[in-house]
């Protein structure tokens, strides 16, 4: 497994939103999916997942409801709200822009300064 990259709080939120946008999941499922999408290069600290989920729910980006898991046990499922979708797109755009800017800075050759 690749080295753990320390995540900022904002990025964790974005990743959760992305994971949930692909379909409703329970907390453990979100964890697995992020791992899966990142091709096992990213592993989330388990303790920070749930506080993030509750915060996102309080802010209204995701919404939860009780459901049945694959092995017939009770679990809470989260899915994206319409506002959450908009928020995710906005954040993703911001992130890409920021990434572009930083890449540009990092790629500056000494002559261009």
């Amino acid at each position: 497994m690749a080295k753990q990259i320390d995540l900022l709080q904002g990025t964790l939120d974005m990743l959760i939103l992305k994971a949930v946008s692909l379909g409703p999941l329970h907390g453990y499922g979100i964890l697995l999916r992020i791992q899966q999408i990142s091709k096992d290069r990213l592993e989330i600290q388990q303790g920070s997942l749930y506080p993030a989920l509750y915060r996102l729910e309080h802010q209204g980006w995701i919404i939860s409801e009780w459901g049945e898991s694959e092995n017939k046990r009770k679990a809470r499922y989260y899915r994206l709200t319409a506002a959450g979708k908009r928020r995710f797109q906005a954040e993703a755009e911001k992130w890409n822009r920021m990434a572009g800017v930083i890449a540009g800075i990092l790629g500056t050759k000494p002559e261009e300064v």
Binding site: H26, G27, Y28, Q45, Q46, G47, Y50, P51, A52, L53, Y54, R55, E57, H58, S69, N71, R73, K74, A75, R76
Partner: protein, 877 residues
């Protein structure tokens, strides 16, 4: 949350198991990996944030905890709020029922009271005649209906034992006009119209239950009212009250009459004998419009019948909303009392605000810590306010509960001349008011400390172990002012109470001119039937023979030393009929300038009256049996009469005459007695002239008996003797003369007791306030006190330190209070008797009492201060 997290851990463990890890190991690793469920839960909770409702609930629970930690403070605060809210609830229930709630009839704002005035002569409410009633009904075009009302007292016989009760004569449409419905039977209707009295009667629910045991077969029964026969046709519902002033409290019987035949005089315009009328306005017409039309009609009538309406009288008609007429004259007193009660709430809030300010300064550290941990100022203030409101609601509920339980008890003390007292109850409006007052109290005393202490929290840093040598001077200054104002209020109330009490005492000690001890009084009234054939006491001879027989039987009762009868019992200023018998007087050899100048009250007595009352004879002689009907007419006058009308001459042998009729014989003055307070202990200066009852008999009689036996023991015998002479005569109000005199002071006693109650409450609150303030001061300064003790200060110095503060506050409050009282009591002068508004004794004693109480209240904290263990204080301070 638990379920969710547990699911996560189990799912993780499952995956591990699938990877080949044994179950136990898998669970262990899962848990470690997850890292502490409780911490996770807490972080989750924090992340989630709190909704407004949740924070309010948290405030609530925190406040409850804080209040429980200091039970003494909580109890004191709750009790004081309960006092304030309870008193206000009771007061408002009375104000609501009497002043605010509309009369319990359909469309009560259409009902008016009609009065005839003669402003040119300065007279109001003059009687009117039958043609004027007709004018109101037919000519004015303003009323849907009009009814005369005339009330008086009469004897009821034929239902159990005879009773004396109040009755009212109305027009047949009185009940339909008011919109009243019967409980059983029927009420008057157009079929009951009669030129004289209709032979039907409607009785009240109270009479029905009392004398007929709520028998449903009472309809059709016959009763005799003042010996005239009537048939009962209906019973009124329990809540019905005549919407107007009454003689004794409740009208028990209603009769109807046309006033155009016996016993009424023939209906001519100049014959004015009807006392009052009420009416219902037509729909759609306003009060002002109606008044305008009536005034115009009055002018027209004056012109049409100029001989019956002399021009200078300016006779006119006035209407007034019925509710206003009923309650208008008690409104000022009720409003003043409400104001006083709200003042109590003010004092209560001041007190608690003080206590809270004291506590807040002790919680400064707590506030500072909380604000450092991230609480906003509004959050802190909100929490303190929640505490205050919680306190005030607890007190409010206690107050409402007390008011509900004690309302009937309180009402017993209210003087019965306040109308609509029967409608007083605690209903929705009163409860809403009580809750509002609780909320207001909570805000009043909570706001200032909440804002004030959180301001301090923001600016101060956390100082380790710093309770300082005091608290911020601004706080202490504010609190001192609060206490001083409380004390001033208390002084004003105490001075008022003192003056009223002295008045009461002076009145009671005042020599009434007779000796009321060991005298028993009983009352009876001879009937005045409409039908002269039914009148057994028509002639003077019949009446005097009754009087003589009555006296003979009374004297024969064992234990009676002496018996007498009078038409007016002393200290009762209304004869039972309701009219004061002040007659015009004519003196021989003196021209009658104007009939208003020479007047005296005529009192009829039997010969032994003055001996029974032990009133001394100054000159001349008492009446004897020889002063009878047909013999030479004689009178006895009292000192006031002698002084007023014969200041320079000897009144004995002078002759007078009552009324303006010159054919009446002159009457000779044969004796002068000392003044008797006939009309009331506080009424002086009315001239009285006594006439022998055998020469001028009276229907309303009071028997006075000199005896050492108590009234309760004599009552059955007195009744028996009177019934033996005439079984149709009711005996009422049998009591000792001392009780009669006491009762005459009933309303004075009521207001004095009320003010004394207020003053006691104010004094109690003020002393609690001083105690609380000083107790907290000692707590705050315990370090300083410990220091002083260690440095060698004796106990006395510590005592003086605390006491000095108490004395200074008390003196300031007393001084302020005395100044306020001096202004306030000048306004009270009309309520006082024999006491000056600035009576030095009261103004000296009250401040003394206050200072002593304040000193006592200060002593306990001062004493506690001396008990401070210096080691502990220095360590903990």
């Amino acid at each position: 949350m638990d379920v969710e997290l547990r699911f996560h851990i189990e799912a993780f463990a499952e995956d591990l198991v699938r990877g080949g890890v044994p179950l136990q190991e898998a669970m262990r690793r899962a848990r470690i990996e997850f890292g502490g469920i409780d911490r996770a839960k807490e972080e989750c909770r924090e992340a989630r944030g709190m909704t407004f409702l949740e924070s309010v609930v948290q405030d609530f629970r925190y406040s409850l905890r804080m209040l429980r930690k200091k039970p003494a403070f909580t109890a004191a605060a709750v009790v004081t709020v309960a006092l304030g809210v309870g008193a206000n609830t009771a007061m408002f229930s009375i104000v609501n029922a009497v002043l605010l709630r509309p009369l319990p009839f359909p469309e009560p704002d259409r009902l008016v009271r009609i009065a005839f005035n003669e402003p040119g002569l300065g007279l109001r409410d003059v009687p009117f005649s039958v043609p004027e009633l007709e004018d109101l009904r037919n000519r004015a075009g303003v009323f849907k209906d009009v009814s005369t009302i005339a009330s008086a007292s009469e004897n009821l016989t034929g239902a159990g034992h005879p009773e004396r009760l109040e009755f009212m004569v109305t027009h047949p449409n009185y009940f339909s006009m008011l919109g009243a419905t019967p409980q059983i039977g029927r009420l008057f209707g157009p079929q009951d119209f009669a030129l004289g009295f209709a032979p039907v009667a409607v009785i009240s629910d109270g009479l029905w239950r009392r004398s007929y045991g709520a028998d449903p077969n009472v309809i059709g029964r016959s009763v005799r009212l003042d010996n005239d026969p009537y048939t009962i046709v209906g019973v009124l519902p329990p809540g019905f009250r005549h919407p107007g002033p009454t003689i004794s409290g409740n009208v028990e019987v209603f009769q109807t009459a046309g006033f155009s035949a016996d016993p009424a005089p023939p209906p001519a315009r100049g014959t004015r004998f009807m006392p009052a009328a009420i009416g219902r306005l037509k729909p759609g017409i306003s009060l002002e419009q109606a008044q305008t039309r009536l005034t115009a009609m009055a002018i027209q009538i004056r012109q049409d019948y100029a001989t019956d309406f002399p021009a200078q009288a300016r006779w006119t008609i006035e209407i007034q909303p019925l509710q206003e007429a009923l309650v208008g004259n008690v409104r000022p007193m009720l409003l003043v009392l409400s104001g006083a009660v709200i003042l109590i709430v003010f004092i209560v809030s001041l007190n608690i605000a003080n206590l809270l300010l004291a506590r807040a300064s002790g919680r400064q550290q707590e506030m500072a810590v909380r604000s450092a941990l991230g609480a906003t100022r509004s959050r802190l203030a909100r929490q303190m306010l929640t505490e205050s409101i919680l306190l005030s609601f607890m007190g409010g509920l206690a107050g409402i509960a007390t008011a509900v339980c004690t309302l009937s008890f309180i009402l017993r003390f209210v003087p019965p001349n306040i109308p609509r007292l029967s409608e007083v109850r605690i209903d929705g409006a009163v409860l809403v008011f009580a809750l509002l007052i609780s909320l207001l109290t909570g805000l009043l005393f909570g706001l200032a400390p909440a804002i004030h202490s959180t301001r301090a929290a923001m600016s101060s840093a956390i100082r380790e172990g710093s309770r300082g040598s005091g608290y911020s001077t601004k706080t202490s200054r504010l609190r001192d002012v609060l206490i001083v104002s409380e004390l001033a209020f208390a002084v004003v109330l105490m001075v008022g109470a003192g003056l009223l009490l002295r008045t009461l005492r002076d009145l009671l000690q005042e020599n009434p001119g007779f000796n009321p001890t060991q005298v028993v009084a009983a009352n009876l009234s001879l009937p005045e039937p409409n039908d002269p054939k039914a009148d057994p006491y028509l002639s003077v001879a019949q009446e005097t023979s009754f009087d003589r027989e009555l006296l003979r039987r009374m004297s024969a009762i064992p234990g009676i030393e002496l018996a007498a009868i009078t038409s007016d019992l002393p200290t009762t200023n209304l004869s039972v009929n309701g009219a004061q018998a002040i007659d015009a007087l004519a003196i021989e050899d003196r021209p009658v300038e104007s009939s208003l100048d020479l007047r005296a009250e005529r009192i009829r007595i039997s010969p032994d009256y003055f001996k029974v009352m032990q009133a001394p004879l100054l000159r001349g002689r008492f009446f004897t049996e020889g002063d009878g009907d047909g013999k030479q007419p004689v009178v006895i006058i009292d000192e006031t009469t002698a002084r007023k009308y014969w200041p320079t001459r000897d009144p004995l042998g002078q002759r007078v005459r009552f009324g303006a009729d010159p054919t009446q014989p002159w009457i000779t003055v044969v004796g002068i007695v000392k003044d008797i307070k006939s009309d009331g202990l506080d009424i002086d200066g009315i001239p009285h002239i006594y006439v022998p009852i055998y020469q001028s008999p009276n229907r309303d009689l009071s028997i006075v008996l000199r005896t050492s036996l108590p009234a309760k023991v004599l009552e059955p015998q007195i009744r028996h003797e009177i019934q033996s002479i005439d079984p149709g005569l009711p005996t009422f109000d049998v009591s000792s003369m001392n009780d009669v005199v006491d009762r005459s002071l009933a309303s004075r006693r009521f207001s004095a007791e009320l003010v004394v109650g207020f003053a006691a409450v104010a004094l109690l609150l003020a002393s609690i306030g001083i105690y609380g303030l000083l107790a907290y001061m000692v707590g705050q300064r315990s370090r300083e006190i410990g220091l002083r003790m260690v440095l060698g200060a004796p106990r006395a110095v510590i005592l003086k330190l605390v006491l000095r503060k108490g004395v200074v506050l008390a003196s300031a409050g007393t001084a302020a209070g005395v100044v306020f009282s001096a202004c306030a009591t000048s306004m009270m002068a009309s309520l006082l008797y024999g006491v000056r508004p600035h009576d030095p004794a009261v103004f000296l004693v009250v401040p003394l009492i206050l200072l002593v109480v304040a000193l006592l209240a200060s002593y306990v904290p001062a004493w506690r201060a001396t008990k401070v263990d210096p080691i502990v204080a220095l360590r903990d301070g």
